[in-house]
């Protein structure tokens, strides 16, 4: 058996089209922030340090990705409460469970791909099944790395939604990331947070936002389209809403910071308002994430507006520069604007 390398998947066959500059991957430092966007450095790390000052039971644990999950901020402040477990994600989860058994609240960090794929059974069996107080903060969620499938956690929400007892959070920006940290600790039981690291865009402060576990929040109202989104797609949706104003299209944005438990009440109330097309937008495969969760909820409840779904295709994604990939897979603000306009006809 041989594999074909003659037609590799990343060839640009778009000959004749206007030449675009070749972008570079440099994925370790690739940022989701647009040029000139307001950002905050390491919101998770700083929020955890603040909270840990009054909560001595909080410990930090990582699998050789402290520097890359902003946990190094915590390590620097509390070196004796920081546990470097080596690049061993299964051990990380099992030992975090053990710490929780002994009364501590571990924040365990790695990349979303390694928590969800490498360590899933360890989380399922040692943490979730016993409803232990372990908090997972996992970087590079969805498509936020240009490294190819090994680093693209396109299915993390689907996997953790399917795990009983697990609370699943998908923050939009730096503000929400900060707000989630104390909420995670106040919540009794395991939590999976999609971690935005490094210089994280700051958006929601303009909307007077306050995160609460299990609550979806309307960020802006609009009569023509209701975008229901989570994570960085909410940031995109707000841009789309602004740009569609020029076309006299009135877009509402409902942000769902908690993927599980889903705020069915708010979603149903907003989706039932007549005359609005509902568009779910997620930085995740179209399989098993927010889109299917909302679709199932609406169908089960007999609420059936015109429904559309923006998400990543059910395929192994390419390597490349993030902006290129976000355009290609339809989750950049520009691509979303075009798609939604098309649906409006």
């Amino acid at each position: 058996m041989t594999r074909t390398t003659d037609t590799h998947p990343n060839v640009d066959t778009n000959e004749g089209a206007s030449p675009k500059p070749r972008l570079k991957t440099s994925a370790m430092i690739a940022s989701i922030a647009a040029e000139g966007q307001r950002t905050k450095p390491a919101p998770f790390g700083h929020a955890l340090v603040e909270l840990a000052k009054s909560r001595p039971e909080i410990v930090g644990m990582t699998a050789d990705l402290g520097k890359y999950t902003d946990l190094h901020i915590f390590a620097k402040e509390f070196p004796d409460r920081y546990y470097q477990m080596g690049m061993a994600e299964q051990l990380l989860m099992g030992s975090a469970a053990g710490m929780a058994h002994e009364g501590f609240i571990p924040f365990a960090t790695t990349y979303a791909v390694f928590a969800s794929r490498r360590a899933y059974d360890f989380i399922h069996q040692t943490i979730a099944e016993e409803n232990l107080n372990v908090k997972l903060a996992c970087a590079l969620p969805g498509l936020t790395s240009g490294y190819g499938p090994s680093h693209q956690a396109a299915e993390d929400l689907a996997l953790f939604r399917a795990m009983p007892n697990m609370t699943v959070l998908d923050p939009c920006d730096a503000l929400e990331t900060e707000q989630m940290v104390p909420a995670m600790v106040d919540h009794q039981g395991p939590v999976y947070m999609r971690l935005l690291r490094g210089h994280v865009p700051l958006v929601l402060d303009e909307y007077g936002y306050q995160f609460e576990i299990g609550k979806a929040k309307m960020l802006r109202d609009g009569a023509d389209v209701l975008v229901i989104s989570s994570g960085i797609m909410t940031m995109r949706a707000l841009e789309v809403a602004k740009s569609l104003e020029a076309d006299k299209v009135d877009v509402a944005v409902l942000h769902v910071g908690t993927i599980k438990p889903l705020d069915g009440e708010t979603i149903l109330r907003e989706a039932a308002r007549s005359g609005r097309m509902v568009v779910v937008a997620e930085n995740h495969t179209v399989v098993g994430g927010l889109g299917e969760a909302v679709a199932g909820l609406l169908l089960r409840s007999g609420v059936t507006p015109k429904f559309r779904h923006i998400g990543l295709p059910d395929e192994f994604l390419l390597a490349g520069a993030l902006p290129t990939l976000h355009d290609r897979y339809g989750i950049s603000a520009e691509a979303m604007t075009t798609t939604i306009k098309g649906w409006l006809g």
């Binding site: 390398t5 991957t25 990582t62 680093h151 390597a319």
Partner: protein, 281 residues
């Protein structure tokens, strides 16, 4: 002794020099990356591709080739540099490294690049694939060998030790593991992140034929590859290579060690010149 199928006559040190040069040229395209690793492992790759392994550059899928698995997929820049030197990947593609549409993505993947035999990026997988390949080759009556390169950071992963135990159980004398002990991983020096010594004793206790060498001493690397091939016992073979990050570019060697380094624009030319100086010396 087996002769090299390509009749290579350029000496290994020169091959290693050219692999380093290719890696620097690719690094310059991104301005940063796993340069330290590419420079530290060049002597090992030169020996693998220009002394030890059988392959046909024009036919990367040739059934009787020796297999090379890059378990540490982020070392792709190093392997591309060797594949270019070996004539498997055209030199012109150097400048596309890590760019949109390139066959040379920053993390090694089988579907993208001729000569890349596995999709890496998620660490700790290569040796398991190697075990299966060796079982399959034996089943097919093949005398090809499987060389699997992995990193000291990967020693932290339980899966690596599962494969190590199983390779000895199956007496896989066609499996040659190579560990790059550069004493570096993402969060710092590997020995501090997770103590892994005494490595030779551990691997021996697991049933392997083990050699530990200076991975930047090309003569030592060559004899270790020969001994791994010629060893009589029905055991898998491990070559533990102690290497020096950024080897061959003294001003980078002297810098604080880092998993992912940034090199300023003007320094790339300096790095190439420093490498050249070492070649003539």
């Amino acid at each position: 002794m087996q002769t090299n199928p390509l009749g290579h006559n350029v000496d290994l040190a020169e091959r290693a020099y050219r692999i380093r040069r290719n890696a620097l040229l690719m690094g310059e395209v991104q301005g940063q990356g796993y340069i330290g690793q590419a420079l530290d492992i060049a002597d090992v790759l030169a020996t693998a591709y220009f002394h030890a392994m059988s392959y046909r550059p024009e036919d990367p899928h040739w059934e009787e080739r020796d297999r090379f698995l890059l378990s540490n997929g982020h070392y792709a820049i190093a392997l591309y540099a060797a594949l270019i030197e070996a004539g498997i990947v055209p030199e012109e593609e150097l400048e596309t490294y890590g760019s949109d549409g390139s066959r040379l993505p920053m993390s090694g993947m089988a579907a993208y690049t001729p000569g890349m035999e596995m999709s890496g990026g998620s660490l700790g997988l290569g040796l398991s694939i190697g075990v299966g390949m060796c079982l399959g080759l034996k089943r097919n009556g093949s005398s090809s060998r499987v060389y699997t390169l992995f990193s000291d950071g990967e020693l932290d992963e339980g899966s690596v030790w599962e494969a190590i135990m199983s390779a000895a159980h199956w007496k896989l004398d066609n499996l040659i593991g190579i560990i790059d002990v550069n004493n570096q991983q993402a969060d710092g020096p590997s020995s501090q992140v997770m103590a892994f010594e005494p490595l030779v004793e551990k691997l021996q206790a697991f049933g392997w034929f083990v050699q530990r060498i200076d991975g930047n001493d090309i003569e030592a690397v060559r004899s270790a590859f020969d001994a791994a091939r010629d060893h009589a016992e029905p055991k898998p073979r491990m070559i533990v290579c102690d290497t020096r990050m950024c080897k061959g570019v003294p001003f980078l060697e002297a810098r604080e060690k880092n998993h992912f380094i940034r090199v300023d624009e003007h320094e790339w030319q300096m790095a190439l010149e420093a490498l050249d100086a070492g070649r003539k010396a």
